[in-house]
C-alpha cells in the first residue's frame, strides 16, 4: 500500500513537472510569435532582398501555423535538440552550457551573501526593534531595495576598481587568461582550482567580488527585511515570554526558539531569491560585462531568437522547479511536523 502510494505520488510530481514545462514553453512560444520583432530580419539583416528574406522565412518554418511550429519544437526537444541560436550561430545547448555557469556563479555567491549577512542583520533588527541597530538595518535594506542596481554597479566599479584598484574590472576574467583553463564545470573558479591554475582562480575571484556583492545587496536587503518581520512575529508569541520567564539565556531564546520557528518561511524566501537571481540580472550583467543567461535571454528576446529564448526559459523553469524541490526537502529537515 505504502509503495503504491509513493509511486502515485512520484507519478503525480512527474506529471505536474511535464505539464509545467509544456505550459512554460507553450506560453513563451506564443508570446514570442506575437512579438513584433522579426526573427528573419535578425538573420538576414534589414537590407536583405525579398528573395533572401522569403528563403529564410521558409527555412525557419514560419509559413506554418504557430501550433505546428510549436509541435515541431517539442519533437526536437524530445530528441534532446534545443535548436540553434540565430544570434550566436551555436547550438542553444552549447550556449546555455557557456552562459548559465556564469550566472550560477554570480547568483550563488550573491545568495550566500544574502544568507550569511542578511539573516543576522534581520535578527538583530528584530531583537532591537525601534532602536539604532534596527534603523541601520532599515537604511541598508532600503539602499539595497531602492538604489538602481545599474547605478550602484557603476559607482562600485568607480571606487573599488578604478580608484582603489582592489578588485578587477568588468568581465569574468582578464583577457590574457581566456582559453587557458579547459571548461569542465563552466564555473571559472572551480575549473581553475581543479587545474591548479591559482593565478586564474585569483583573477576570476577578483572579477566576481564586485558584481556578486552588488547583486548580493538586493538579496541581502530582501532577506534581512523578511527575517526581521518573521522574527518579530515569533518574538511576540507567548512561548517566547514563557522561555524568558523561565530564565532561559537570551541567545537561546532568539536562536534556539524564535529563529528555529522562522526557518521554514526563510527557506521559502531564500529559495525564491536564489531562483530569481538565477534568471539572471540583466543590468548587473551589462554593467559588469558578465556573459550570463540574463543577457543571453534578453538579447535573444529582442531579436526574436525563439530557440534561444525557449532554451533559456527551460533552464530558468528547471531552476525554479529544482529549488522548489530542494526547499521541500529542507522543510522536512527543519520542521519535524512535516516529517511526520
Amino acid at each position: 500500500m505504502a509503495l503504491q502510494s509513493k509511486l502515485t505520488s512520484i507519478l503525480g510530481v512527474l506529471t505536474s513537472l511535464l505539464l509545467t514545462f509544456i505550459g512554460l514553453t507553450a506560453i513563451t512560444f506564443v508570446i514570442g510569435r506575437m512579438m513584433p520583432a522579426d526573427p528573419v530580419l535578425a538573420i538576414v539583416g534589414d537590407r536583405a532582398s525579398q528573395e533572401v528574406y522569403d528563403q529564410v522565412y521558409l527555412q525557419l518554418g514560419l509559413d506554418k501555423p504557430v501550433y505546428i511550429q510549436y509541435l515541431r519544437y517539442l519533437e526536437q526537444l524530445v530528441e534532446g535538440d534545443l535548436g540553434t541560436s540565430i544570434m550566436t550561430a551555436q547550438p542553444v545547448l552549447d550556449d546555455i552550457i557557456r552562459f548559465f555557469p556564469a550566472t550560477l556563479e554570480l547568483a550563488t555567491i550573491a545568495t550566500l551573501l544574502g544568507i550569511f549577512v542578511g539573516i543576522p542583520m534581520g535578527v538583530l533588527a528584530a531583537v532591537h526593534q525601534g532602536r539604532w541597530p534596527d534603523h541601520i538595518v532599515r537604511v541598508i535594506s532600503l539602499i539595497g531595495y531602492s538604489a538602481p542596481i545599474f547605478w550602484l554597479g557603476m559607482v562600485a566599479l568607480l571606487i573599488f576598481y578604478a580608484n582603489l584598484g582592489w578588485v578587477a574590472g568588468p568581465g569574468r576574467l582578464d583577457v590574457y587568461y581566456d582559453g587557458i583553463v579547459e571548461p569542465t564545470t563552466g564555473i571559472l573558479m572551480i575549473d581553475a582550482a581543479m587545474s591548479g591554475e591559482w593565478d586564474i582562480f585569483h583573477n576570476a575571484l577578483s572579477h566576481l567580488v564586485l558584481p556578486a556583492t552588488i547583486l548580493g545587496t538586493f538579496a541581502l536587503a530582501y532577506i534581512a527585511r523578511m527575517t526581521r518581520s518573521f522574527m518579530l512575529d515569533q518574538l511576540n508569541q507567548e512561548y517566547i515570554l514563557t522561555a524568558r520567564v523561565k530564565g532561559m539565556p537570551e541567545h537561546k531564546v532568539i536562536w534556539g526558539h524564535a529563529f528555529r520557528n522562522v526557518l521554514v518561511q526563510l527557506i521559502t524566501i531564500i529559495g525564491l531569491t536564489y531562483a530569481s537571481l538565477l534568471e539572471g540580472s540583466v543590468l548587473t550583467e551589462t554593467v559588469f560585462s558578465w556573459p550570463g543567461i540574463g543577457q543571453y535571454i534578453t538579447n535573444s528576446l529582442f531579436n526574436n531568437d525563439m530557440n534561444a529564448v525557449l532554451g533559456g526559459t527551460i533552464v530558468v523553469g528547471a531552476c525554479f522547479v529544482g529549488i522548489n524541490m530542494l526547499s521541500d526537502l529542507l522543510y522536512r529537515l527543519v520542521d519535524p511536523r512535516i516529517r511526520k
Partner: protein, 531 residues
Amino acid sequence: MTRLKKLLLSLTVLAAFGMGSSQAATPDNTFVMAKDIADIITMDPAEVFELTTGEIIANIYDRIMMFEPEDLQTLVGGVAESWEVSNKGSTITFKIRPGLKFHSGNPVRAEDVAWSLQRVVKLNKTPAFIITQFGWTAENVDELVKATDDSHVRITIAEEFSPGLVLNAMSAGVASVIDKELVMSHEKDGDLGYDWLKSNSAGSGAFSLKTWKANEIVTLDANANYRHGAPGMKRVILRHVSEPSSQRLLLEKADIDMARNLTPDQVKGVMGNSDISIDGHPKGTIVYMAANAGHPILGKTEVVQAIRNLVDYESMANSFLAGQFVVHQAFWPAGLWGALEETPYRQDVAKAKSLLQAAGHGDGFELTIHTLTNSPFPEIAQALQANLAQGGIKVNIVTLEGKTLWPKYRAREHDIILARWSPDYVDPHSNADAFAHNPDNRLEAKLTGVLAWRNAWADESSNMLAVKARNELDLNKRRDQYLELQAMLQKTGPFVIMFQQNEQVARRKNLQGFVSGSNFDLVFYRNVTKQ
C-alpha cells in the same frame, strides 16, 4: 597540500591583501579593444553584413581588390596582382599574385578565387546582391566566373555595368578569397562549408580567427607570413563590453588599449587624461529622415522641402552630437569619390512656413517619427520634434529596436523614419541604388532592400540618371553624373539627409597605427604597434 587547503589558503590571502586588481597594462604584443560585439552572427564572408564582422573579416581575408591601410583612397589589387578589362568592360581578367598562401598553408590559386565568388552566388545570402547584380545566378556563375588557368580568373558581366564599379565591388566582403580545400573538407550535405565557416576562418589575410565566443570575445592571431609582412601585434582581442561607461573605466585603468563605443560625454571625460588620445575617423554612415511618399501630406515635394528647412542641423551637430557626427546632406558620404559635399540647407523657418502654405498645410499637421532606441536617435528625434514644431508640425516619437522597426519600414508602414545607412561597398552606386533607383514602385514588387521603394518614391529622371551613372565608362563623366544625382535628390527626394558619422576612438597613447577608413569594413589592425 590538498586542493581544498590551497583553495582556502588562496581565499585567505585574497582577503588579507585585498582582492587585487588585474595586471596594470595589456601585454606588449597584444592589442585589446572593448567594443559592443553583440551584432556578430556569422564569420562567413558570404553572409557577413554586420558592422563588427565586416571589419573582422577585412583583417582575416584578402579580397580580390582592396583598399589598403597605407592609402585608403586608392583601389589596388589584393589577391589580384593585375587585371585587364576587355570587351567594352564586360570581361575582366585578374592575374593572381604568385606565392600567396592561406593560413592553412594551402596555396592561393585562381580556382580558390573563382570558387569564392561562385560560392557567394550559390549560397545567396544577404550581401550576395553586390555581385549577383552583375547578372550572375547559381545556374550561370560557373560559366561567368572562371579560372582560366592556374593564375588567371575571368569574370564576365552579364548586365551593363561600368568596370570601375565592378572593380570596386570586388573590394567588398563578398569578394574575400576563401581556402576552398580547407572549407570543402568541412562540407556537410552540400552546404559548401557554410555551417563550419560561420564560426571558423579560412583566409590569407593578416590575421586568422582563433576564437569567437558570442557576446564575449573574439581573438585573432597574427599571420606571420602575410604578404605585407607580419602584423605589429601577435594577437588582437575584441572584448564585448556593451556599456560605454565600463569601456571608459577599462581604458583608464589600461586594461584595454582602445574603447570603440564611448559617448560624447565620455569622450569629453577622458580628454583630460594624458595617457589617452581621441582619434576621429570619418565614416560612411549617414543619418537621415525618410518621408513615406505614400502619405497624403508627406508625398508632396514642398512638404519634404519644408521639413529640410525646419531642421536645425548645426545646433544638433554642435551640441549633443559634438564630435561624433558632422552635417552632411547628400546620399554619398563626404570624403569618398563622387561625393557632393555641399550643405545647402540651414534652418529657415519663414521659408519652411511659406512652403507649407504653398502645399496647403499652413495650419500644420501631425506625424509620427519612428526611430531606433539607441543613441543618438532618440536625442535627434527629440530635437526634430522641437524643430518641426516651429513650422506647426506636431511630431509624435516612437522608438523601437531595429528588429521591430525594420519590418515597419520594409512594409511602408511609417510616416517618417529616422535611421542610418552605410554603403555596402566603396562605389557611389551602392547608395545610389538604394536612395535613387526604384524601377518598380508597386507594393507587390517588394523591392524591400531599396530605400526609395520603402518610401514609395520613384522618379523617372532619378532612375535614368542612376542607371546612366552605373553604366558610364568614363570616370569623370560618371562622377559628374553622381554629383548631379545627389543634387537632384537633395531637392526632390523623400530623404532629409542630415549627418555623417565621425567615429571617435579612444586609445592609450602608447598604441599607434590603428586605421579606420570611411566604410564599415575598412578597418585595419595590421599596422598597430605599441611603444
